[in-house]
């Protein structure tokens, strides 16, 4: 994949500038969103109250929007834009212009939504929850974020298409292929949220229609809400599959299997939204179970991924002369932040994935649904596996883009940062899991529920969460220090953009993997299969619609 690589080894400075623009917004969102997260854990410990009439649910909304939508989308688009530029060649001026338009649309949308949250006009959480009715500017702002991300993603697709045209019959560079899979999945998934916002929430919040169909809105939202988490995860997988092997000095275990697993994610990430709606009325239990089965299909590419990664590690270790069953672990580069930071994220994905299986297990969801267990779960998946990998990526990508070096001191600080994060998360997410099993609800301010004994038993866990939240906030300060150093102050130099090579270069990936008509066709068929009949049922048997409420 990097046979014609000499000219592409460095990301063009014009492309670097657009990627960096994304990262400034992403890390800005991390700073503010992180502070909001800290405040939430402090409030919920019962020892602290918010000053100046700021509402708990206002900062909760800000935390969710900034971390779940802004940090992730901006980081991912910035990373993928650079990865495509690095592996498929510099973006054309037209693609770059498209990228900038997307970036500014997303930024404008973020500001609109942010201002409405600050004014307390939109404390509806990023999951919307109609018939709670936010200000229409909030909905319009988030529409701009989504539409902006489509335009932004189009830039990657344009450059990929150009590469395919110039290299007929050749499999595309692995990182570009993966970036395009993720972008395509994102576009298909966001159609759902775009539909509920444009056809339901915007006309309703503008007063053009009086009522909203709540279940239709929720179903459209969750059609988007689960692939959203795979949109976060796949860039981390890009790093694990295609970047880490190069960092440790090994090879990609199998280029073809990596592509196959991404295709499976494209197919099975979307027709699964009902597993977020398992305890809801109005949806037939047989259709819920069908989507549970489809949900579990992603376990297959996850198992493939786990196998490939550890196979890469072991083969590298043995090539260095390691012996014994686990001797290869010892020779991995534990002192290299570019490796160990994503590795901690990778290891966290084992318990995180296991928790996810519980959540999606049909009736088992009743034990944990909307308890703080779920919050603990996605702070392991998104806020540890994904985010630590993103931090690890930025430690080489930011200096690569700014023409600087990751110094020894920053490398060390990066490793410290990851351990601080791990310890903070063990406290916070661990306590959330245990409290959730006892029934403690998520998305709730401090309460003793009329001095109920059950609720009093939850308080020690809430204090542990505040301890964890405080440690994590220190972690956020550290990562911001590193980011600013690498963006502005680190010494000038060359930092590598590592791109792994497959172990077996003779074995070319089958061209069928690049057949988008085929994969999009299967994806569409699965979506129609999983959603058509239940969606018609929901509409045909709909109760009277709901008018808007502002209960905050």
């Amino acid at each position: 994949m990097i046979s014609s690589a000499a000219a592409k080894v460095k990301v063009d400075p014009r492309d670097a500038k657009l990627s960096m623009a994304h990262f400034f917004v992403a890390f800005g969102a991390l700073a503010i969103g992180g502070l909001m997260g800290l405040l939430q854990t402090l409030v919920r410990s019962g020892k602290f109250e918010l000053p100046w009439g700021i509402g708990y649910y206002q900062i909760l909304t800000a935390h969710g929007v900034l971390m779940g939508l802004v940090l992730t989308t901006f980081f991912i688009m910035g990373f993928q834009y650079a990865a495509v530029s690095r592996t498929a060649g510099t973006h054309s001026p037209a693609a770059r212009r498209t990228g900038w338009i997307g970036f500014w649309l997303m930024t404008l949308g973020t500001l609109m939504a942010g201002v409405m949250i600050l004014l307390n006009e939109a404390s509806v959480l990023y999951t919307f929850y109609a018939p709670l009715q936010a200000h229409w500017i909030f909905y319009l702002g988030l529409t701009f974020v989504v539409v902006g991300s489509w335009v932004d993603g189009a830039a990657q697709i344009m450059t990929y298409a150009k590469w395919r045209k110039n290299n007929p019959g050749q499999p595309s560079p692995l990182l570009s292929f993966m970036a395009v899979i993720n972008t395509v999945m994102w576009i298909v998934a966001t159609l759902g949220v775009a539909a509920t916002v444009l056809f339901q929430l915007l006309p309703w919040s503008l007063g053009l229609v009086d009522t909203v169909d709540v279940l239709v809105s929720r179903t459209l939202f969750w059609y988007f809400g689960h692939p959203l988490v795979y949109f976060w995860l796949l860039p981390a997988y890009m790093c694990w599959y295609a970047v880490i092997p190069k960092i440790i000095g090994g090879k990609i275990f199998s280029d073809s299997l990596a592509r196959l697993s991404f295709i499976l994610f494209l197919l099975f990430s979307i027709p699964v939204g009902f597993h977020h709606q398992l305890t809801e009325p109005g949806i037939d239990p047989a259709w819920k179970f069908l989507q549970v089965i489809l949900t579990f299909m992603v376990i297959i590419p996850s198992l493939m991924t786990a196998f490939s990664l550890f196979a890469t590690f072991e083969r590298y270790g043995r090539s260095k002369g390691a012996t014994g069953l686990f001797g290869w672990l010892r020779v991995l580069p534990w002192g290299d932040a570019r490796f160990i930071v994503p590795f901690i994220g990778m290891a966290s994905f084992i318990p995180a994935g296991a928790g996810g299986i519980i959540n999606a297990s049909n009736q088992m969801d009743q034990v944990v649904h909307n308890t703080i267990w779920v919050t603990g779960h996605f702070h392991l998946t998104a806020a540890t596996s994904v985010v630590l990998t993103f931090f690890g990526i930025s430690y080489w990508l930011v200096p690569h883009l700014t023409g600087r070096k990751l110094t020894k001191a920053m490398n060390k600080l990066g490793i410290i940062q990851a351990w601080v994060w791990f310890i903070g998360m063990a406290f916070m997410s661990g306590a959330m899991h245990f409290q959730g099993l006892l029934g403690g609800p998520r998305r709730s301010a401090f309460s003793t529920y009329g001095d109920s004994q059950q609720a009093l038993d939850w308080i020690p866990y809430q204090i542990a969460q505040a301890v964890g939240g405080t440690i994590l906030f220190i972690g956020i300060i550290l990562v911001l220090v590193i980011f600013i150093n690498l963006a502005f102050f680190a010494p000038k130099g060359e930092e590598e953009f590592p791109v792994g090579e497959a172990e077996n270069l003779q074995e070319k990936a089958p061209m069928v993997f690049e057949n988008w008509k085929l994969w999009l066709g299967i994806a569409a068929a699965l979506i129609l299969f999983a959603y058509t009949i239940p969606f018609i049922d929901i509409i045909q048997n709909a109760p009277p619609g709901s008018k808007g409420f502002k209960t905050w």
């Binding site: 809801e280 037939d284 004994q453």
Partner: protein, 158 residues
């Protein structure tokens, strides 16, 4: 496309576990009746107070049904009707709930009763209260400023 022998073994093992697991969950749900709450009955959310059985929230003894009692709840921001109820130990109870305004949660902490209440829909779950003591009902779905103040209590008595 070549697949390593160990990877084949790994995937066959993993996929077999998956099939067994899903079979267990499916048999439990559809053969043994442990489906998650999925009531399909609708209601006009503006006329909850005039619609049976929600015109009379609380515990009602019933005859000739599979369950002994119906426990009827009406949720609205930020309270449940009734706010306190006593249930006899060992009673088989059908919990029926709905909301008059926004989405609420209905979770009896420490039990498997956990369902979403959505405007226009009735949520139901049938269960047996086989342990005495006080149980807290919490709203576990965000509903507004007073979300964390929304609760009710069930006393299971001998």
């Amino acid at each position: 496309m070549h697949m390593h022998k160990f990877e084949k073994i790994w995937l066959i093992f993993g996929i077999s576990c998956l099939v067994i697991f899903l079979t267990v969950v499916g048999v439990s749900a559809f053969y043994m009746g442990n489906k998650p709450p999925s009531c399909l009955t609708t209601i006009d959310p503006e006329k909850v107070d005039q619609t049976k059985p929600f015109d009379k929230p609380g515990l009602h003894k019933v005859e000739g049904k599979e369950w002994d009692y119906e426990l009827v709840y009406v949720a609205s921001a930020f309270s449940y009707q009734p706010a306190q109820v006593e249930v006899p130990l060992g009673a088989k109870v059908k919990v029926m709930a709905t909301t008059k305004d926004v989405i609420h949660g209905f979770e009896v902490a420490g039990t498997n009763i956990n369902m979403m209440l959505e405007p226009g829909y009735i949520s139901e779950y049938t269960t047996t209260f086989d342990k005495a003591g006080e149980y807290l009902i919490v709203c576990n779905e965000y509903c507004g400023t007073g979300h964390h103040l929304m609760f009710s209590k069930i006393e299971v008595v001998k």
